[in-house]
Symmetry: C2
Subunit: 437 residues, 2 copies
């Protein structure tokens, strides 16, 4: 007869906002977790930098500053990494796998920069590596992509994956606020950091886009592969222009399979983060405040959307616990779960080859022949105009142009061409349009 | 050295709309599926009742009318059941598990009526039993509940899980159509069956509610436990009344943990299906046409929503394939996935004990003292009024009353009391209000 399984021992790396929530859930949900895993879960130790800091509900005797010793201890089965950053997180996770532990991580930066090294180690040592919490907090997103849609063919992932920027853009849309005012309000409410660079410049969203693209297309993608534009240049005029188009401006993470002429797998993938207009009728348009949502288009499943709180200690800890139960069951059962497969190895295409649509607003001289001159600038680059509209007269005259789909290189060359025209006083707004065919 | 793994052999029971899509995906995605599973997947046979029927893209040499022989064949590893109904599906699935096969099913009726027998067999024979396709088509919902949220504590599941009724109610809301006109249109467009009973009377939604409640609360729930009301009685007046409240009428499947005074697990669960008003600001309110969406409230994860096409051959087949890859990986790895755990065994509370809110519209005599008499009828049953509003005058006088939360038994006793009052000419509309605290 199989002997009764003793407790599974868990080491926690980091004990900040997420870590303390993980400790709380492990204690409060202990009976439930044991029933679901088939064995009790027990905290073996918690690695922190400042053991003297007060952490409510955390047993101080478990604290250690020697993370290296903790992850290699023989009596540890599973390591949860919630330190963040590249090092020492990477070394600690690799050490843990090397000594037979399975690993759960919420570290989007590391997974987006060097996931390949971690996946290779997981394969080599037969370890589990789960990281649901790294993208969109508690929204179950990686597991559906990794597992539920694994028999389907994903065409596109379109997501709002950064709560800070969504809050700012939502304020700009709802109250007509400028970027700086909306940022200040977000900071006052705790939605934005004192240094908001990682959020407003799109670095956070780009890391998540890399992780999503890799899972959706089974192809290696790092954060450096992602074309990235932040929202600091989004003006009240851009937001008003979107309203005029019955659209809303959102910072989108877009992962797209680019079809080739002959094969279904496509000639590559396009992975990009930028502010873009989407129609108000699109399900993503109604995602308000700091919520996150990810829209997935798959061949058979059609359009799916996943919505929820994308950050915060409790939601992130919930995602960690979901992974912990899966990993613990695998440990009890003696077999690891599925390892990442990047067998498709599609190339990541440069932004210039990505096909998209532009909305362009021009301050123009109000004189005969303006429209012909502008239209010629588009035609020179092979860009076809879907709609053009004149707004205002005289000194206030503006042309609003929406293009058909065209390669981004042709579109940006067109904008450069427009800037060089005498009759164009200013290119007042340029924004991509997404979310429709 | 481990020998190279031969192909995994799959038996398909049923080859209708979903079955033919499964066959197509198995063929078209063969290379991808093999890469993800670690072994090729091969169709061993397809059990059908009418082998002479034309099925595009289906190899006729695989067809058999002897389902019993197919599921017990030694060269079959995995059985996919897309026949529907209770028998012979149940017997075939049990035979398959008994002879060592793992089973994937899209059969909501069977899982909701007698899931317990199937789960017991899966446990006894060490088989996998996966059934993502049984609820909400391709929307990954069961897997998040089974796995991602397993370390969390689900309070409530609130869902639109029937596309037909959502299409009808959406038409009534958008165009002011009556129920019968909207049903006819849904039938003309293929969204409703010639005999629409299973959809419009809520049987389909009730089966899905039972499956969701069981997973969310780890407690056995069958379709017979679900309080069920359909939408045939929903009138244009109800829909207009909802509009006046800035609400929309949706057929909701609601699974709720009912808290006790002393313990977190609650004194039971409430599982019910009925048309109810929800605020237009609620994420479920914007679910249009035949789409499905399920809103989950969990302690740590907060509010999550899952949205997509809830039915159709291709979406359902996508969910089956997702399960197939998971099960096939487990077969290759030699260990089954997690079996259902219903360790919590919470009682299902009768509808009368469920706490909810009522919207009541009364045609009343326009005379002094009416409001006092009506208010007294509520007070007699301990029901507290949140808001009351008079609409119209004289012969047209109406009172609109919205209650605070109260046990359903007290609310329905109040309505009976109102019907017996001389000054109440008619109770024009009674509808529950959900989606807010």
């Amino acid at each position: 007869m199989k002997p009764e399984r003793g407790p599974l021992r868990v080491a926690l790396l980091g004990c900040g906002v997420v870590g303390t929530e993980v400790v709380r859930l492990l204690r409060e949900q202990a009976a439930d977790l044991a029933a679901r895993v088939g064995a009790p879960l027990e905290l073996a130790g918690i690695a922190v930098r400042r053991p003297d800091r007060v952490r409510a509900g955390v047993d101080r005797s478990l604290l250690t500053t020697d993370a290296q010793a903790l992850v290699t201890r023989d009596d540890v089965d599973i390591v949860i990494e919630v330190i963040g950053g590249i090092e020492p997180a990477r070394t600690l996770m690799l050490e843990a796998m090397k000594t037979g532990k399975s690993v759960i991580s919420a570290n989007k930066a590391l997974l987006a920069e060097d996931g390949a090294t971690l996946f290779a180690a997981a394969r080599e040592y037969g370890s589990d590596l789960y990281y649901e919490a790294s993208v969109a907090g508690a929204i179950p997103l990686l597991r559906p992509l990794r597992e539920s849609l694994v028999g389907d063919h994903v065409h596109r992932v379109l997501g709002i994956v950064n709560g800070t920027t969504n809050y700012i853009l939502d304020q700009m849309d709802t109250h007509g606020a400028g970027f700086n005012d909306a940022l200040e309000e977000a900071q006052a409410l705790g939605y934005a950091e004192a240094d908001p660079t990682a959020d407003v410049e799109g670095f956070d969203a780009a890391a998540k886009a890399a992780i999503l693209a890799q899972l959706a297309f089974h192809t290696p993608v790092t954060a450096a592969d992602v074309h990235r534009e932040g929202i600091t240049e989004v003006s009240a005029a851009d937001v008003a222009g979107a309203k005029g188009m019955d659209c809303v401006v959102k910072l989108l993470a877009i992962c797209e399979r680019v079809p080739s002429e002959d094969g279904r797998n496509g000639r590559g993938v396009s992975v990009r983060v930028y502010p873009a207009m989407i129609p108000r009728s699109h399900p993503l348009a109604s995602v308000r405040e700091a919520y996150n949502a990810v829209f997935v288009e798959a061949e058979s499943a059609g359009s799916l959307m996943f919505y929820g709180a994308g950050a915060g200690g409790a939601p992130t800890a919930s995602a960690v616990l979901g992974d912990l139960v899966a990993v613990a069951r695998n440990v009890v059962g003696g077999t690891p779960g599925p390892v990442e497969v990047t067998y498709a190895k599609l190339p990541v295409l440069p932004m210039g080859e990505t096909v998209t649509r532009y909305y362009i607003q021009l301050d123009v001289a109000d004189e005969a022949g303006v429209l012909a001159t502008v239209a010629e600038a588009f035609a020179q680059h092979g860009v076809s105009i879907q709609a053009v509209r004149q707004v205002g007269l005289g000194e206030e005259a503006q042309l609003v142009v929406v293009t058909h789909r065209a390669p981004d290189a042709a579109l940006s060359a067109t904008v450069r061409g427009l800037r060089g025209l005498d009759i164009v006083r200013e290119v007042a707004s340029v924004m991509r349009v997404e979310g429709e065919e």
